[in-house]
């Protein structure tokens, strides 16, 4: 991973954090925000970022449904056991298998998908080592990380200080 160049700051208050995010975004940079719990205010400030997780869920749900119906249908046709003229490939009993496998595959791949997407984003939007070692982002502090050229560091540093950051850290290669 390339070394981090940019600014990161620690905030105590939510409203100061959201103001900083908005002002950083006005400068054409999308910051990474660290927070102890999800807050809608931060989502709004970040411009409602989306996620691919629902599409992964839909795709694997469809696959699960397909397997859930085709596996019993195929096994019933592969070794035919006729029981008093009842249909060999009977849809109603297979609905249960189809339903269960739809849920199971959706759940498994939603979980894997969100981990994978989280991992990809961690690589795409790295945060400096010092920020990782700061232990209060899971506790009671908000963090705003801005990755930028060294020429713009002062600009973002002043935005953060102006908005009441507790600490502002500058990271240069």
């Amino acid at each position: 991973m390339s070394k981090f160049t940019g600014v990161w700051a620690i905030f105590e208050y939510l409203d100061e954090t959201t103001e900083t995010i908005e002002q950083v975004r006005e400068q054409g940079v999308q910051p990474t925000v660290l927070m102890p719990c999800p807050r809608h205010e931060i989502d709004h400030a970040l411009g409602e970022p989306g996620t691919l997780v629902p599409w992964i869920a839909l795709a694997f749900g469809a696959l699960g449904c397909l397997i859930g119906f085709s596996l019993p249908a195929w096994t019933a046709s592969d070794w035919v056991l006729p029981v008093s003229g009842k249909p060999i490939v009977a849809i109603p009993p297979f609905i249960i298998i189809g339903f269960e496998l739809t849920i199971l595959l959706t759940a498994i791949f939603t979980l894997l998908g969100l981990f994978l997407l989280g991992f990809i984003d961690t690589c795409r939007f790295p945060i400096p080592k010092a920020a990782k070692k700061y232990r209060r982002f899971q506790r009671d502090r908000f963090g705003v990380v801005v990755r930028c050229d060294s020429s713009r560091i002062d600009e973002f540093e002043s935005i953060m200080k102006k908005n009441g950051a507790e600490e502002v850290h500058v990271e240069k290669e």
Binding site: E12, L14, D15, P49, P93, I97, L104, T110, R139, G164
Partner: protein
Amino acid sequence: MGITAEYNSTAGRVVIDENEGHPGIKATTLSYGQINDEMLAMLDKPRPSYYLLLLGFLMALGLGVLSFAIQVDVGIGYSGISHPIAWGFYITNFVFWIGIGHAGTLISAVFYLTRAPWRTAIYRSAEAMTVFAVFTAGLFPLVHIGRPWLAFWLIPYPNERMLWVNFKSPLLWDVFAVTTYMSVSIMFFLLGLIPDLAILRDEAARKGKKLKALLYAPMALAWRGTNHQWVHYMRGYLIFAALATPLVFSVHSIVSWDFAMSSVPGWHTTIFAPYFVAGAIFSGLSMVLTVLIPIRAVFGLQDYITNHVIQSVSKMIIFTSIIVGYAYAAEFFIGYYSGSPFERAIFYYRPFGEMQSWTLLGENQINFPQIAFWLMVFCNVIAPIPLWRWKIRNNPLAVWIITILINIGMWFERFNIIGSSLQHEYDPASWGEYWPTIVEVGVTIGSFGFFFTLFTLFAKSLPPMAIMELKEGTNPPMKHAAKKDINE
């Protein structure tokens, strides 16, 4: 009522009117840091009484293991299960524990989707309960089949003659339903734990406890709480809740079809699915309170698990109790209205015993099913009636006693359904009688030991409340509101 906010300089946070915040949590004014500290304090070194409690549960578990070992050694014939009663205590326990496992996912998924905020304080424990109850339930088919080493025959793969399992059998539906439910419940539980494990990791590191931090780090899966992670996480969590919701209702429906798809009198009825689901939610919610009310008292969690939470769960218990009571009555009506002598006979047999010999005072053949029936009616229909009163609902001890009665009642409901119908099927010549043997009682006690051992270990090793969601429910730290108030 308007929001009145003031800045508390000692606590360093904005204090907003309690009534405006989270109805499930009295202390909406707690700061994020305080929530962390109070929740983590629950994981401190346990008192000797904890070990004593754990020892008791382990002894019960040991009794279960010993009983099972005897049964494996002697053979399944050592249990009371014999023709025509092929399903006895073990399947009763299976259905009972699956039912207990319903509340967790109901609380964490259904109440998440319906935005019932009081769920926050109790859903983690309820979810853990679900996972442990389904584990416990999962043991019983293995115990019941007599030769547990051949249990893999149930897994859907072809045998050496390429013959597959029968996908049209309700028993196989059950395998799919229960394993899916167990898998999704475990994943849902672990998903909810990730941000809290990151909290544990960071707090341990902050306090210089390196070994603990090292232990929690891999479990937290590199969680940093970035906005990117939260976006995927929250959407994934919502999808999980949406998936788990139909699953809650389907699992016990499918368990009920184990019975309803057969042509046994008293089982072959269309109301079984909703009847079982309502019963499962009823028993599950009762078990949640049975477990949480003592935990609340021991850890002093009155600010989190408020009386409002207990009241809300109690209302759900009343609601499901009415459904269950109605189902009991409806079953009798269906028995009468069916015109089938076998249906009528079984619904006479359940409360009153043998039709021929029954007299009010004379020689009566009261059997195990009759005891089960009347206990069921008393505990599930009559005992919850006091919960209608606000004063009773607001008294945790009274609620706790009622929930214990409900647990007993629901166990006997399962037995009433299973035991009585098999004792009296069609031909009187093939009727039988069932009394459990010592190994079945031992394994049943062992199952309670297994469940409570797991829960006791959980309560001291992982946060029993979702710290992240408690923070979400409290008022966020706001500078400007504080400034405004101070100026006023």
